[in-house]
């Protein structure tokens, strides 16, 4: 099995490091801005990916397996983190009924009012119209539980 890129120059290292930095920065912005707990988690994983890329780039540059081993541990830790954190997310959802990180504001000053979102548009996506076929024969089963159906995700 031959490697896809045989270059061992510092150019590959630098480019890979820039890619890792971009992934890390994107993950950081995501974790700082997005309110959805799941998306925050995805952003965190994105940061980990950036780190992984950097580590492997250095490993390639140094010609040893240190970076590889570290990335394996990053994978392990990410798996543990995902397991525990998702349980927490579920618990949080069970308590507040939302995946909103802003629902957890108890750490604020006692004199400050709870911050709420102002002036949200009712919805930014018009409901999609699915094609409806004319009835031919018996109605297909389903649609007994309208709440289980989602118009979009």
């Amino acid at each position: 099995m031959t490697p896809l890129v045989a270059a061992t120059s510092t150019a590959l290292l630098q480019n890979a490091l820039v890619v890792g930095a971009m992934l890390f920065a994107l993950g950081l912005v995501g974790i700082l801005t997005r309110r959805n707990l799941i998306v925050m988690f995805l952003s965190a994983e994105l940061m980990l990916q950036g780190i992984s890329v950097s580590l492997v780039a250095w490993s390639r540059h140094h010609g040893d397996f240190g970076g590889h081993v570290l990335v394996i541990f990053v994978l392990t830790v990410a798996a543990c983190e995902a397991a525990v954190a998702l349980v927490f997310v579920l618990q949080a959802f069970a308590r507040t009924g939302r995946l909103d990180v802003a629902a957890w504001q108890a750490l604020r000053e006692a004199t400050l009012a709870r911050s709420v979102d102002h002036a949200l548009p009712a919805s930014d996506a018009e409901p999609q119209r699915w094609p409806r076929l004319s009835t031919a024969g018996v109605l297909p089963p389903g649609a007994e539980e309208p709440s289980l159906e989602r118009e979009h995700v």
Binding site: I31, L32, W104, R108, E109, L112, S115
Partner: protein, 739 residues
């Protein structure tokens, strides 16, 4: 007891009551109604030891009579427990020190700077031994009496703890050999007094009286503090006794024998007078002399046993002790001595006048105590050995009979349901014969009727005053038997009293004239008559006439239980006999003369031969008899709520009944201006200072209000702030390392 040295015994006297107090405090709840046991055991042990010490010291002094009559040598024993504080080279005597320090010549006069040390030293000399015995013995009797009196009181353990603590403090006060230690225990007895006056602290009057006693005593304590400072500045030491420094020199104490043997050892003049007047102020506060007497009558709000021990027998005599102990200091300042006498005699007369119209039995006794203390001061102020010993003699007899009278009054109170107004009593001798009989004995002693104890001590005081007023008459009188006295007062101590110094132009010294002393003598004589009057007025109102018992008494109206009546009887014996015995054998005068303070040449030179002055005795007895007769005319056999006194005294009665308006005077002169000042200060504090402080306080609050908005509870904002902080640091570092 062979193995116990006198020093150990001396330490035991205060230590046992202290242990008793601590044990009572710790075990009070456990012991419950037996909480008196540790306290009484401690005081009893202390009393036994004190009597042993008294006998031992007495043996050391020697007998006044017989072939073994020896010249008076000062007797003292010092035991230093520990060094409380020590500061090296604290005192550098001024170059032109008026205090020529004797003793510096003894050793090498090398370094002039001396250390400031406070040795906690106990001393034993005749004066201390006498007072220790009085304090512990009377304390024991009163403590036993309290078992009955304080029975069923919720604060039973507390009473005995404080009582025992008082005995400890008072023992330390008279045994301490350092002015600073004296000051400490001067305050300690004041604190115990405060605690006992305010014993029933839920009662507003008691709490107020305790506060008043404490505050008025502060004025006197202030005087003692100033006197202590002045003594340090003047003498460079606060010790009474001489100490041997490690390099072999003798550091003379203020009242040490080295200094006392030196004619110029004691500083007179303005500084000396200032010291003495400050000491007098202290004594006036503690011993309730004019104008600081106002706290003592109110102090009767405390339990009667406490009044008997503290406010009649012992603590109030601390002022007498202080002046007597400082006798050599006063001898150098005739003006201050005269002031002592003037204060004393005036207090005696005014207090006696006020006592004549009091209707509260305990207040009569309180004013009587003030009056008798004034007597003692008048005697001290004569500045003669006779005067000093007479004052202590009167102190001893007064301790017995006044404690007896107070305990008798307490017995009446106990039976009458805590009623103490004499106008509601009558003929109580039928109900409580023992109390009546012992009260009568005490009254006879107080009134100065021969042969009860008060007669002899009062006679000596009158003699001392008379001797100053008519010096020539006494000189002739004593010339009758000059030889015997020459042998008694050893020639080595007959040092002529130093001639008045040229610089003593103090105006106070001008009072030291026979005319002053004559008027003081007449005041004392009138006081004797008044004493007899108010004493027997109280006796007649309470114990004679138709039997009347206040309703509050209920089924209590009977003789007190033995635990209370037996102490009365025990006290009645010395109240009756001790005067005759001590006067007849004159052992006390001889004994006290061996006190270093009294054996100083300046004091010893004034020694007059012991004599019984028949003319004075007749005058005193006559005055007392007139008083008794007037009291009998007014009150014997009549209803005690009659208006005889008002008819007799007229408007004066109102004046005296209002205690000569001294309290009102204080209110107008001191309390009201202070209250006005306090109001002004409070307004200033509340509006100006608080306003300023609040302004400063609002600043951080406002600042915090701005920053607080950041603490919004949104997790991502915190994270953003953290990231931005890290980035700021990294950018800063990159900027710095850009080269």
């Amino acid at each position: 007891m062979q193995q116990l040295s006198p020093a150990t015994l001396l330490v035991l006297v205060p230590l046992l009551p202290l242990a008793g107090a601590v044990l009572t405090l710790l075990l009070g709840r456990v012991l419950g109604p037996r909480a008196h046991l540790p306290a009484i055991a401690g005081i009893a042990g202390a009393a036994a030891v004190a009597v042993m010490l008294l006998l031992g010291t007495s043996n050391q002094v020697g007998s006044a009579h017989g072939p073994h009559a020896e010249p008076v040598r000062p007797v003292e024993m010092i035991t230093t427990l520990w060094q409380w504080a020590s500061v090296q080279d604290a005192y550098v005597p001024p170059a032109s020190s008026a205090a020529a320090v004797p003793g510096t010549a003894v050793g090498s006069a090398g370094s002039t700077a001396r250390p400031f040390t406070i040795p906690v030293a106990l001393r034993l000399d005749p004066l201390t031994a006498t007072l220790l015995a009085i304090i512990t013995c009377i304390g024991l009797v009163v403590a036993v009496y309290s078992i009955g009196y304080m029975h069923h009181d919720p604060g039973y353990p507390r009473f005995f703890a404080v009582f025992s603590l008082f005995v400890f403090s008072m023992s330390m006060l008279v045994a301490a050999s350092n002015f600073l230690v004296v000051y400490v225990f001067w305050e300690a007895v004041g604190a115990c007094s405060y605690l006992l006056i305010g014993f029933w602290f839920r009662k507003p009057e008691a709490a107020r009286a305790a506060k008043k006693a404490f505050l008025v005593n502060r004025i006197g304590d202030f005087g003692l503090a100033i006197a202590t400072f002045l003594l340090w500045m003047t003498y460079g030491t606060l010790d009474f006794h001489d100490t041997l420094s490690p390099d072999g020199t003798i550091l003379p104490g203020i009242l040490g024998q080295t200094r006392l043997a030196d004619v110029d050892g004691i500083v007179g003049g303005a500084v000396g007078t200032a010291i003495c007047l400050c000491l007098l102020l202290a004594a006036c506060g503690k011993s309730a002399q004019l104008p600081l007497h106002v706290w003592l009558p109110d102090a009767m709000e405390g339990p009667t046993p406490a009044s008997a021990l503290i406010h009649a027998a012992t603590m109030v005599t601390a002022g007498i002790y202080l002046v007597a102990r400082s006798a050599p200091l006063f001898m150098a300042c005739p003006g201050a001595l005269t002031a002592v006498s003037i204060v004393g005699a005036t207090t005696a007369l005014v207090a006696a006048l006020i006592a004549t119209v009091q209707n509260d039995l305990k207040r009569v006794l309180a004013y009587s105590t003030i009056s008798q203390l004034g007597y003692m001061f008048a005697s001290l102020g004569t500045g003669t050995l006779l005067g000093f010993t007479a004052a202590i003699f009167h102190l001893v007899t007064h301790a017995f009979f006044k404690a007896l009278l107070f305990l008798g009054a307490g017995s009446v109170m106990h039976s009458m349901g805590n009623v103490i107004d004499m106008r509601r009593f009558g003929g109580l001798r039928r109900i409580m014969p023992i109390t009546a009989a012992t009260f009568l004995v005490g009254s006879l002693a107080l009134a100065g009727i021969a042969p009860f104890s008060g007669f002899f001590s009062k006679d000596e005081i009158l003699a001392a005053l008379h001797g100053k007023g008519w010096p020539n008459a006494h000189a002739e009188h004593h010339d009758a038997a000059p030889a015997s006295h020459a042998s008694l007062w050893n020639a080595s101590y007959v040092v002529p009293r130093p001639a008045p110094r040229e610089d003593s132009t103090d105006w106070l010294d001008g009072f030291d004239a026979p005319a002053t002393w004559r008027s003081l003598f007449w005041m004392a004589l009138v006081t004797a008559g008044l004493t007899a009057f108010y004493t027997f007025r109280a006796v007649f109102m309470t114990f004679t006439g138709p039997t009347r018992v206040p309703d509050e008494a209920g089924h209590h109206a009977h003789e007190s239980p033995p635990v209370m009546s037996v102490p009365l009887v025990i006290l009645a014996v010395p109240a009756a006999a001790v005067g005759w015995w001590l006067f007849g054998t004159q052992s006390l005068a001889h004994f006290l003369a061996a006190t270093p303070s009294f054996s100083a040449p300046a004091v010893a030179a004034t020694a007059a031969p012991h004599a019984f002055h028949m003319d004075l005795a007749i005058q005193g007895t006559l005055a007392a008899a007139i008083g008794v007769v007037i009291a009998a005319i007014g009150h014997l056999g009549r209803r005690s709520d009659g208006p005889q006194l008002e008819r007799f005294l007229g408007p004066l009665q109102t004046f005296f009944a209002n205690r000569c308006y001294v309290d009102e005077l204080y209110a107008w002169l001191v309390v009201r201006p202070l209250e006005a000042l306090a109001v002004v200060a409070a307004l200033f504090d509340r509006h100006v200072i608080d306003g300023l402080v609040n302004t400063f306080a609002r600043l951080p609050v406002a600042l915090g209000g701005i920053v607080r908005r950041l603490q919004g509870g949104l997790l991502q904002r915190y994270a953003l702030a953290g990231v931005m902080g890290v980035l700021a640091i990294v950018v800063l570092l990159a900027w710095q390392l850009r080269g």
